[in-house]
Amino acid sequence: MNYTFQYGQVVQYIPYLLGGAWLSLQLAAISFVAGAAIGLVNATALSFGPRPARIAVRAYVTFFLNTPLLVQIFFIFFVLPEAGILLEPYTACAIGMSLNAGAYLTEIERAGFQSLRRSELDAAQSLGFNLRQTVWYVILPHIVKALYPPLSNQFIIQVMTTSIAAIFAVEELTGRTYNVNAITFRSLEIFSVAAVIYVLLTLIVSTALALVGRRVFRVKAKVF
């Protein structure tokens, strides 16, 4: 085992990789927002919807939580063309990740809704709050506080999940790492650099989210 690490050839590509990290963040944000919207609809359906809607949501969540994201995207990417729907790799990944995140976020948002107690609403009523006041001063602050930590956690997971898009030749951080690897052949060097970028990226994002949570929503979110 005689191997000399040569980071010299790799250093020049770091700005290129950081550009990929920005794309990763974008993809994570898109799929997170879409997933959160899906989750909101689903969680509402689970709480107030009719029985068929509840069963459909349960089936969707169970299926997407118990199968790998990679295979879900493979399915979207290779099976839909057989039905005549051709998707760009980026679009296919975004759709797959949104549907996958939607299942996780349904669970999270449902738990957030359920943490609301009957006694809080009773208290609001006995103080003479109308509906708008109840939603604005009682329900929303409670739900935001309950949901903020798991949601920011899910966003971090979403950032790391985007690396799967590299398998479909999307040029986000991991995809660009593959590219640099093909040019330089300094494989371990470039992948370890990518690993460090991922660690720093998620650390920065979770610190930022914790700070925002503390300032804006008065949530005690932990970074570690």
Binding site: P68, S115, A166, S187, F191
Partner: protein, 236 residues
């Protein structure tokens, strides 16, 4: 679409294909469950090292914290490639299965350490103090006081964590490990439609993950029956 399925099914589920899929199924099972189990053992040790009362040794503690924080923040695919190329440099000539298993164990250890730490933290401070006041040793404190109270907290998330690795191992197809996703890709290139290939393995993954999840929920219910919520939740 359904007609292609009907036409292909007899050929797809032929003897040799079934053998191929069955072997891959076992590999996926072994890779994820064995990896999660070995990872849990290492993760347990890391959680011990990280605990200020059980192992008041600063370097060990720092190592455990750094390990957990770093390995939880790297995507599985990137970890896999790092391990893959590290093995290559070390002159590894063995199976890709070992490479994938190493990756699963390395990342499982980090996640397990967090789960076990959560279990330790769930034990009230007074319990630790009481154990110390009774002059119990560290091993005794862990075995007789802490662990009996932490298991109900540790066990339920451990199932979700195992399912996570069943799903992550699909990425191991990238380095050519013979597991379910790899088989789907191979059969797809042999001319079977993507629908039947990926549809079948989606169902097989589901057949591994869902029972695991149900078992976890069942155990969680059994462990938490004694604790009842104080106020009724609004939307039950």
């Amino acid at each position: 679409m359904w007609s292609t399925l009907r036409d292909e099914a007899p050929r797809f589920f032929g003897y040799y294909n079934l053998l191929f899929i069955g072997e891959a199924f076992l590999h996926t099972l072994a890779l994820s469950y064995l990896g999660a189990l070995l990872g849990f053992v290492i993760g347990f040790a890391l959680a011990l090292f990280r605990h200020p009362r059980l192992f008041p040794i600063l370097p060990l503690r720092l190592f455990a914290i750094a390990y957990v924080e770093v390995f939880r923040r790297i995507p599985f695919l990137v970890k896999l490639m790092c391990v893959f190329f590290a093995f290559q440099i070390a002159g590894w000539r063995g199976s890709m299965f070992t490479v994938a298993l190493t990756t699963v164990v390395l990342s499982a250890a980090a996640f397990a350490a967090e789960i076990v730490r959560g279990g330790f933290d769930a034990v009230h401070r007074a319990q630790w103090d009481a154990a110390e006041a009774m002059n119990m040793g560290r091993a005794d404190t862990l075995w007789r006081v802490v662990l009996p109270q932490s298991w109900p907290v540790i066990l339920p998330p451990a199932f979700g964590y195992t399912i996570g690795f069943v799903k992550s191992t699909s990425i191991a197809s990238q380095i050519g490990v013979l597991e379910l996703t790899y088989v789907a890709k191979v059969l797809n290139t042999r001319g079977f439609s993507a629908l039947i290939c990926f549809g079948t393995i989606l169902l097989l993954y589901f057949a591994i993950c869902w029972p695991t999840k149900l078992l976890g929920e069942r155990i969680e219910r059994r462990l938490t029956t004694r604790v009842r919520p104080v106020a009724e939740p609004m939307m039950a």
